[in-house]
């Protein structure tokens, strides 16, 4: 799109604090989420899940359930012999046939007049299981003779990634300092406040209408079509406003096809909404990782090599979680300059909950390890952590050995800004000097940085987004975009970008972004891509409309189109701003003229980045986001309680488009990162989730949030819409890493596994913790 020719003299919408367009409805309780939609005649569905972690299904008796008045259908795999494997790995059927591999597994489903009857019927289904040995960790899964969870996956290896640049042996030989540590990262889950749900209905001609919370409607259209053996054109997906996504809605999950099966069989609309417990048990997690990192540097602080091995607990099936190494390796190879780097990873099947994509996509785990080593190496060569990082940080224009092009890169400015604003070096030295003080409550400060995709992500064959823009006779714009809103504010930002081109106020736009029969194609809302990709697409459509209007105005005024502009709802002379026509009036004159014309345009934006090659070399994004965060903590050495007091964040966001919106993204991400670091821990024991509720799974609450000081570094990316880059995932990525470094600064103890709950921290401080070991259970 070309960076940011600075706007003309008039007022700009860019960089302002723009309230979200959907906020008044949401704050009034007027927004209708999927839970609030009632389709007349709809049946209510319930899914019967396995009571066994790993077992053979011997028999399922649905007769009593079927006999219950008000029950329309009770289905098992036997009723849908045509069902096909779903998900990223295509390794499981929506309804399981002869074997269950995790406690969430779907065994049968009911559609009934009411939710209550469906629940009752569900309890009447009798399933006989023959238990099989439970594989509850990756060590057992890879032990010789371990039973194989899926055919065609010997050793229970679900997926592997191998990447190498340079020669790590040479790199290690050239090192003055070499360190190696093992890190263990835990299970957490998305906890969207709106639980999962779907409504499916077929019309008499067999066309499927889905009301769905998916983040990828166009991809799902195709997947459901394959599943049903029908033309994708016969599937329409409408997304009601979504109560939180964070990556949890990127894959197809069994409940969606099951509800479709029930609708097909009963010939009635069928609605399913999860309970909160079900949401915990049957929606994806962030993948637990065991990570071994070996790093080195020279005496002068130059990084030499990094060798990484990781084992991911994939859970029972393969969803996006298995593919996160693809992002993790970028942090390993390219956050800092490392000549030699080697990365091996395996995702291993177990009988645990299966892992999906979650804000940051593996990068929280990778950054946790890398930034611990940056501190340790700095200390080993006697440099301060800031100078050591600055010495190895990327610069603009860098092409990394992995082949990533950092066209805009404000990394060093992020580092210096966050350090200066937090007075990092002074505080670090002071805290360290107090290690031997008798006071039980210690203060610590820690720094960590991150690199993440900021210009879309080449994961699918296309990373594009389409826009259709219509301007009516009253100069009102309808912006039809493929880009989905999940609460992040995309419809507001896209409106701003279109209005900026068309010289219109925000009140002149309606956004349509949730109906596959109307909106043009988009790959989905993920990878921090919507502002960048959807934004460039909206700008493209608006520029086409503008060109069309100005060409018509040029004919009427006998001025060149280049001499005209759109401002404040008028067509004006560019040089002196003289108003020539009121825009609505001019459009009406076009419409009702002899050669009637409506102003409608369409535009498709696909970023210029190319796909990586099979050795993972090349760009995955058209631009990259950078950030540094400094965390200040208080550690009570007598209780193990860690309080996050302050986060000073500096983010290279390209350019701020909506200041209010971007602050909200950063603050929300920081607090989500705080949860990952300190409070959240999904406890899975022998395949059983022990805390599938908000009482025992601790989200951060309002009294606990830190003071947040956020600075935006505006590097004006050449490909970004008005210079902007993506920011959605970035703020959650380095909190845990920075908190770990802060705990070390406070106490002298380095903790290699998350989360920093009082018990874990207390044990670590008092020498009662087992540090993670390679080869031990991930």
């Amino acid at each position: 799109m070309g960076a940011a020719e600075k706007p003309l003299s008039r007022d700009t919408l860019i960089g302002k604090r723009i309230p979200k367009l959907d906020a008044p409805d949401k704050a009034s309780g007027a927004t209708r989420y999927i839970h609030d939609l009632d389709v007349p005649g709809a049946l209510h569905a319930k899914i019967l899940r396995s009571t066994q972690v790993h077992a053979r299904i011997i028999s399922i008796d649905t007769s009593a359930a079927k006999a219950l008045p008000g029950v329309h259908a009770v289905i098992t795999a036997a009723d849908v012999p045509w069902q096909r494997p779903i998900g990223v790995g295509k390794d499981h059927l929506p309804l399981k046939t002869d074997r269950v591999r995790s406690l969430r597994d779907e065994v049968a489903a009911v559609a009934a007049d009411t939710e209550e009857i469906a629940e009752q019927a569900q309890r009447l289904i009798k399933v006989t299981y023959e238990p099989l040995p439970v594989i509850s960790n990756t060590t057992d899964a890879t032990a010789p003779g371990a039973s194989q969870l899926h055919d065609g996956h010997p050793g229970n290896v679900a997926m592997t990634f191998d990447y190498a640049q340079g020669d790590v042996v040479r790199g290690e030989a050239a090192s003055d300092v070499v360190i190696e540590d093992v890190f263990r990262l835990h299970y957490v889950t998305h906890c969207c406040m709106g639980v999962s749900g779907v409504i499916a209905e077929f019309d008499p001609s067999g066309n499927l209408l889905l009301h769905s919370n998916t983040q990828v409607p166009f991809l799902h259209k195709r997947e459901f079509a394959e599943l049903l053996g029908i033309d994708p054109a016969r599937i329409r997906i409408i997304q009601p406003p979504i109560g939180g996504g964070f990556g949890s809605k990127l894959d197809i999950y069994p409940f969606e096809p099951i509800v479709i099966f029930l609708a097909k069989i009963t010939k009635r609309p069928v609605k399913l909404v999860f309970t909160r417990e079900e949401e915990f048990i049957a929606s994806p997690t962030r993948q637990p990782v065991l990570l071994k990192l070996r790093s080195g540097c020279r005496k002068d602080g130059t990084l030499t090599f990094r060798a990484v091995e990781t084992v991911h607990d994939n859970g029972a099936y393969t969803s996006w979680g298995a593919t996160t190494p693809f992002v993790m390796m970028q942090t390993m190879s390219s956050l800092y300059r490392v000549p030699d780097c080697q990365y091996h990873t395996k995702a291993i099947y177990t009988n645990n909950p299966y892992a999906g994509s979650f804000r940051g996509y593996g990068n929280l785990q990778a950054t946790f390890a890398v930034e611990a080593h940056m501190d340790k190496l700095a200390e080993a060569v006697g440099m301060d952590g800031l100078a050591f990082r600055l010495k190895n940080a990327q610069d603009p224009g860098e092409v990394t050995p992995q082949g990533m092009h950092f066209n805009s890169c404000g990394f060093k400015e992020c580092l210096t800004t966050a350090a200066a604003r937090s007075d990092f070096l002074r505080k670090q030295a002071e805290n360290r000097a107090r290690w031997d003080d008798p006071t039980p409550v210690k203060r610590g400060v820690g720094i960590a940085s991150m690199l993440h995709v900021g210009g879309g992500a080449k994961i699918y064959p296309s990373d594009g987004c389409g826009t259709i823009l219509k301007i009516d006779d009253f100069a009102h714009v309808t912006l039809m975009t493929g880009a989905s809103e999940i609460g992040q504010g995309s419809e507001t930002v896209l409106s701003q970008l279109a209005c900026e081109e068309l010289g219109l106020p925000l009140s002149a736009v309606t956004v349509i972004n949730n109906d596959t029969d109307i909106t043009p194609w988009d790959v989905g809302v993920h990878a921090s891509r919507t502002t960048f990709i959807g934004g460039n697409s909206a700008i493209g459509a608006a520029r086409k409309a503008k060109a069309k209007i100005l060409a018509a105005a040029a004919v009427k005024t006998e001025l060149a189109p280049e001499a005209l502009d759109l401002r404040d709802g008028c067509i004006v002379r560019k040089d002196d701003g003289k108003r020539l026509f009121e825009l609505g009036k001019f459009l009406r004159s076009l419409h009702f003229s002899d050669r009637a014309e409506l102003v409608m345009t369409s535009f498709y934006y696909e970023p210029p980045s190319k796909h990586q090659d099979t050795a993972f070399r090349g760009d995955v994004s058209a631009a990259y986001a950078w950030a540094t965060q400094v965390c200040e903590v208080e550690v009570d050495t007598q209780t193990g309680i860690v309080r996050l007091l302050k986060v000073t964040a500096a983010h290279d966001v390209g350019r701020v488009l909506n200041r209010l919106g971007i602050e909200g993204q950063i603050e929300g991400g920081i607090v989500m990162g705080q949860g990952y670091a300190i409070t959240e821990n999904l406890m899975v024991e022998n395949g059983v989730m022990r805390n599938a509720n908000f009482r025992d799974y601790k989200l951060v609450t309002a009294p606990e949030i830190p003071e947040m000081d956020v600075t935006f570094i505006e590097t004006m990316d050449g490909e970004g819409p008005q210079g902007a880059k993506g920011v959605g995932e970035a703020p959650a990525i380095c909190i845990a890493a920075a908190v770990a470094n802060a705990i070390h600064n406070a106490t002298g103890t380095r903790i290699y596994s998350l989360p920093f709950t009082p018990e874990n921290v207390y044990r670590a401080l008092h020498g009662a913790a087992q540090p993670p070991r390679w080869g031990a259970a991930a």
């Binding site: 979200k20 959907d22 704050a27 929300g668």
Partner: protein, 165 residues
Amino acid sequence: MSANCEIAFTLNDVRRKLTVPAHMSTLEMLRDQLGLTGTKYGCGEGECGACTILVDGTTVNSCLMFAADCDGRELTTIEGVAVSEAGERLRAAFVASGAVQCGFCTPGLMVQASHVIEGHPGADEATIRRGIEGNLCRCTGYRKIIDAIGAAGRTALKGVEHGRS
């Protein structure tokens, strides 16, 4: 299946008479029986605050209260709060402060916030934080919600002072 109860109560200033199953929660009554979907189901066990309503002027997790226990009480839901003068002020503050993202927790927070402000119009930061600790939000990190409540409280306080003078 189960016994029904006849109850009479005031809901958003309108008197209602209703027959509800004895085991029904107030949340289900509001959403399924009365079609007031602004009050949200977030967890069903009183941990998230998405279903917060006012009962006789006090905030309650409506998922934990039997509908039968509404008899003789005065209920205000987000639909009632949103059209009150204080609610409009609060909504304006939520919108202007950027306190809304996915919006699913917002109705519960609006109701809770209206209660906090009514009790403590000039509430300080710590009081506001404490006042909404029972409401979970996964998107915003709470910062802008706290700011919004503070701003609405200050506006309310100014209104009171102005009224006095």
